[in-house]
């Protein structure tokens, strides 16, 4: 393979296009008349074909080419979209995906595409005439009215092109500032604020940077993509004071479109070009999401490099802690000031690095609509899948791991949760089962919830199974709460299906899901009501390596308690401690909270006598709380999570270690295991 250096880009982009094909096909199935969607699909297929042909993957190119022909027939009203056609195209997309995966794994991407090609050909020829000459098909109306903008890069062209098809106006706005305007940059800023609210600025003349630096006279031009009318735009801008005049005209651009189109065919020939094309893709993506254009440009970075950056930064955080401590001890004014500044800057840096690693969970979620469609067909069930919060961001490392567990849970919900339409009708429910996939942030955690309105979990069945599998004894079973019973289905070797189906009977149970989630530092809980449905709730940490903690001291030992699990700290006098069932509890804002003495839990060698006052850290796990008794609070600090190493493995109530400012190791308390 001569094109090795482009192979990675090719694979990445192919995957994106395949995903987009999947997404758009699902949309098309629901709205067969939507020509915009057909256009989207056509473009993705077209780009994919061009890329595959350039890279020399002939089978891939052939298959996409036939797909494209069918789509073109649809576009030209020669063919009506039916579920059958969509099924065939889905099959083709599946095969494409297989081929791309094969290439990614070092194969040559060859595959027997003949059958599908024939089928596609049949679909296409049923409807008679279809133009084969796709390459020059996509032309745009031409016009030659150009004023200030005639130099565009491919990225901008893509947006302009796209926005028109999506019903946006491309407006050229000329703003003239008042002659005695004092703060020109500020005015420009305000104008841009207004513009940003009504649309997206694609290009500015002079450039935005020049505008910010006041490198212009009194007049500037911007190219705006908006849904507002020219007059509205004008009125809105005139609301900003010290504006002399606003001229808004429709912007028409031409010829370049053709160039843009051809560019798809020679993509990959230059690395710069391929980067731009990925930007095109990104532009497309967010357009779908927001219905707006895109202002920021992106660059693809290898995750290894980000990991390297992260590792270096972790070292820096440790040294920062050390410097802070040294400067606090020395009390040297200049040093303190410098260290403070450095702390602030590295804090900002930390945010940037962490944000850089954040990826919307959409990446994982977007494969589910397709999966659910296929599964519900296979299982003969009717499912309505809703996805909420796909834009929720998670650390890249978590994203990579969370996909498989979610697939498992969704399969589980479809297979065991939601009943067949007949059964649902008997139970007086609507035929179509609801499956809701939701992601949201809360505190330092991300929650992912999968809920269905299916049959729920049958407590008795679970208990019986658990007893027959020797997971629990009969005696234990009678004492378990519902929640504890549901947790049982995640113990190893457990499956509630009466018959092992093709879908979930793969020899791995929910225990794998649980393990994966726990290895990410997360938890999973199950709620269920028989006949009404179940809810699987996954809680995950936002990032994996740098966390905020409260450092506390117990005798001479220092421990770190993650801030995410702390509600607040309190100092109470001995007299406020009550006894309930031989357990020490306190009354915390009207709630009875049990006390856990860290000294006892960690068997700290004690010297001191009991104080008159207790320092207490109130922690929580879900809706339960506990108070950790410590000796002193040291303070809040950002720390780098380190493992204790394989030799020690799992240590009770310790989730890891960190290195403090003085170079010593402090242990991180796993509060979740303390509340049980």
């Amino acid at each position: 393979m001569e094109n090795n250096e482009y192979l990675e880009v090719f694979i990445e982009e192919s995957k994106e296009h395949i995903q987009s094909l999947n997404d758009q096909l699902l949309v098309l199935e629901n709205e067969p008349e939507n020509m915009d969607t057909v256009g989207e699909i056509f473009r993705s297929a077209h780009t994919l074909k061009g890329m595959a042909a350039t890279m020399g993957f002939q089978d891939l190119a052939d298959l996409t080419h036939k797909m494209e022909n069918v789509l073109d027939a649809v576009r030209n009203d020669q063919l009506k979209i039916t579920t059958d056609i969509i099924d065939v195209i889905f099959q083709a997309v599946d095969q494409l995906e297989g081929m791309v995966l094969d290439i990614a794994e070092g194969g040559d991407g060859s595959s027997d595409v003949q059958e599908l090609v024939n089928t596609l050909q049949a679909i296409e020829s049923n409807q008679g005439v279809v133009s084969v000459n796709e390459l020059t098909k996509e032309t745009k109306p031409e016009s030659s009215d150009q004023a200030h903008f005639y130099q565009f890069d491919q990225f901008e062209l893509a947006i302009i092109d796209q926005s028109k098809e999506n019903g946006f106006e491309n407006l050229e706005v000329t703003v003239k500032l008042n002659e005695n305007c004092l703060l020109k940059a500020a005015r420009v800023y305000m104008v841009f604020e207004v513009l940003e609210q009504i649309g997206e600025v694609i290009k500015a003349d002079p450039t935005v940077q020049d505008l910010e630096e006041e490198n212009f006279d009194l007049q500037f031009h911007v190219l705006l993509v908006t849904k507002d009318s020219a007059e509205d735009v004008k009125q809105k801008i005139l609301k900003v004071s010290e504006i002399e005049e606003v001229i808004v005209s429709t912007f028409e651009q031409d010829k370049n479109v053709q160039a843009n189109n051809d560019e798809n065919n020679k993509v990959e020939k230059e690395s710069i070009e391929s980067k731009e094309s990925s930007q095109n893709k990104n532009a497309d993506d967010s357009k779908k999401k927001t219905g707006k254009g895109v202002t920021s440009k992106t660059i693809r970075v290898n995750i290894d490099r980000l990991d390297g950056l992260m590792n270096l930064f972790e070292e820096l955080v440790i040294d920062r802690g050390r410097l802070e401590q040294i400067s606090a001890n020395l009390k040297h004014a200049d040093l303190q000031e410098t260290v403070e500044r450095m702390s602030r800057i590295s804090g900002d840096l930390q945010n940037i690095i962490l944000n850089m690693r954040m990826v919307p969970i959409e990446q994982v979620f977007n494969r589910f609509p397709r999966m659910v469609r296929q599964l519900s067909k296979d299982l003969g069930k009717k499912i309505n899948l809703d996805i909420i919060g796909a834009e929720t961001e998670l650390d890249r490392t978590v994203i990579d791991e969370i996909g498989d567990p979610l697939v498992h849970l969704i399969r589980n919900a479809l297979d065991h949760g939601i009943e067949t339409p007949e059964k649902r009708q008997e139970a007086g429910k609507k035929e179509e089962g609801d499956l809701l996939l939701e992601a949201y942030h809360s505190g330092n955690h991300v929650f992912i919830e999968i809920s269905d309105d299916g049959a729920g979990i049958n407590r008795e069945k679970v208990v019986n199974k658990a007893i027959s599998n020797h997971v629990i004894t009969e005696e234990e079973a009678s004492q378990l709460t519902d929640k504890q019973v549901y947790q049982l289905i995640m113990s190893s070797g457990f499956s509630t299906a009466d018959t092992i189906s093709d879908v979930s009977g793969r020899g791995v149970g929910l225990d794998v899901v649980k393990n994966t989630i726990e290895s990410l530092g997360g938890t999973i809980t199950i709620e269920s009501e028989e006949g009404k449905g179940s809810l699987f709730s996954i809680q995950l940490p936002l990032t994996l390596s740098i966390i905020s903690v409260l450092l506390v001291e117990v005798e001479k030992e220092k421990y770190a308690i993650p801030l995410s699990s702390i509600i607040e700290t309190a100092i109470i006098s001995k007299s406020e401690i009550l006894n309930a069932h031989n357990k020490k509890v306190i009354d915390f804002r009207g709630k009875v909270v049990p006390l856990i003495d860290l000294k006892n839990v960690f068997e700290v060698p004690t010297e001191k006598q009991d104080d008159e006052f207790y320092s207490i850290v109130i922690i929580r796990k879900g809706d339960r709380m506990a108070g950790l008794v410590v000796d002193t609070f040291i303070g809040q600090q950002e720390i780098v999570l380190k493992s204790l190493g394989d030799y020690l493995g799992d240590v009770f109530a310790i989730s890891g270690a960190t290195i403090l400012g003085d170079g010593q190791v402090a242990l991180i308390v796993d509060t979740n295991t303390l509340i049980n």
């Binding site: 070292e315 440790i318 030992e557 839990v601 960690f602 068997e603 700290v604 380190k642 493992s643 204790l644 190493g645 394989d646 030799y647 020690l648 493995g649 240590v651 009770f652 109530a653 310790i654 270690a657 290195i659 170079g663 010593q664 190791v665 402090a666 242990l667």
Partner: protein, 156 residues
Amino acid sequence: MKEVTSNHQSIIIELDKEEYAIPVEVVGAIERMQHITRVPKTANFVKGVINLRGVVTPIIDLRERFGMESMEQTESTRIIIIHMDKYDVGFIVDAAYDVLDIPEEAIEPAPQVIGTVDADYIGGVAKVDKRLIMLLELEKVLSQETYHAAIPGQEG
């Protein structure tokens, strides 16, 4: 440990006045005693963890691991940092001194019982000049079964 070279280059350590050999390839560093952070609920011979240039490293007291009486640390007490395939750990030893070439022919199989140490950890005994040096079988020293068996209050 399984190599068939004719010489075993080893670091010689001292425990309770006897000499033991650790293959030089696995020794990463020899450190002076430093603050050790105790880790609760681990085996009693695990003294805790230290910060070894940014890596949190567990520390094992070899005396306690071998069931000898523990000793106050002295000027000569050392921590030997070991890098194995699976684990990075440190051993507390009474002293560590020289690097010695132990000729293959000087090594004899371990007798059943030597002193207080269970022969299980001893891969062989070498006679070099007039010294008797025991070759440590590190995989056995670090076996997870032994580790788990030594955690107080853990059933099974």
